[in-house]
Symmetry: C3
Subunit: 136 residues, 3 copies
């Protein structure tokens, strides 16, 4: 298990963390990796990242959560960021194959920053499910 | 693996189940826990639970799903509850560290009840990934 | 780990893949199964599938994502499909009990096709957590 710090640069941004996670699965022929965000305004998911798609996502998220009179006492302006994070989720499990994340051609593992810039922490937990090598 | 019953009290509510899950991970130095809801109108996610944020979430969810002429034969009024549950998801995987859920400072594991009050069941499955203790 | 191909028939549809996943967990008394979609316009979740509910979901998803001037260069018309997929997620972990998925009475594992018809691939990874049988 490894906790990795990621410095985000903007208020809202989608950050490709595929290569960061890939580094942790080297040497695993077959397995699973859990990627978990330790935050309530930064989510983890997979996405297509063709140029501009990151901003498309943020534009859509802004419209999806309605502008209501929120109660959240700390800062009601952050309530939509909390709600999008709870919807997307903070937890992702990805298969590992041949020392790499087993992803589709256009699929990237992303951190969705909703209230940056900030130093974020993600927890990467690797499970080796290789049955080929004898465990003796 | 343990199936735990949770009695919800309202039609719509966010219930903090962090302490319930924490009880199941005692004695695990390092691992993962899967939390799974056995329902189609009660979801599992992580969230900030500052006072009022639970109601903020419910107000937002109500607006996010459009009011359409739904087909669902059993009770079309519950269709938005099914849709929010499918969006949030019924499955969460959280890291375990030092006998506790490894969560961020404001992060709680929550059951999102969309059609209560009811007795709900969640399945908690713990995986011990501790490599420090020799397995003999 | 097994990669399974699923041929979808329509542009938008919800496909029940419970039986397909069930076939892979035979012989496992207790465990977890990860179901992962290798796509950015096809998601995995659990849902109620009373007749018509699949179309209800698609009608709602269409309204949930706003119609904006998206940037996505490959085909901006697919941007809402990418956004719904990132929201629902591509990853699901389900408990296994007595050689079957441990699901609620109305709960099905579904592939949400947002840009078909196409041949889709899902990765099924089974973890045996049975402690009853001695491993010697």
């Amino acid at each position: 298990m490894k906790t990795i710090k990621i410095s985000t640069k903007k208020d809202k941004e989608v950050i490709d963390i595929t290569n960061i996670v890939d580094l942790e699965v080297k040497g695993i022929d077959e397995g699973l990796v859990s990627v978990f965000s330790l935050h309530t305004t930064a989510a983890i998911t997979t996405a297509d990242l063709d140029p501009g798609t990151d901003q498309d996502m943020m534009d859509a998220f802004k419209e999806i959560v309605p502008k209501l009179a929120y109660r959240h006492p700390h800062n009601p302006e952050h309530t939509p960021d909390h709600i999008i994070t709870a919807l997307i989720g903070s937890s992702l499990v990805v298969p590992i194959k041949d020392s790499k994340l087993y992803l589709g051609a256009w699929q990237r593992v992303v951190l969705v920053e909703m209230a940056g810039p900030r130093e974020r922490e993600i927890v990467i937990t690797v499970q080796n499910l290789d049955n080929k090598t004898p465990k003796v």
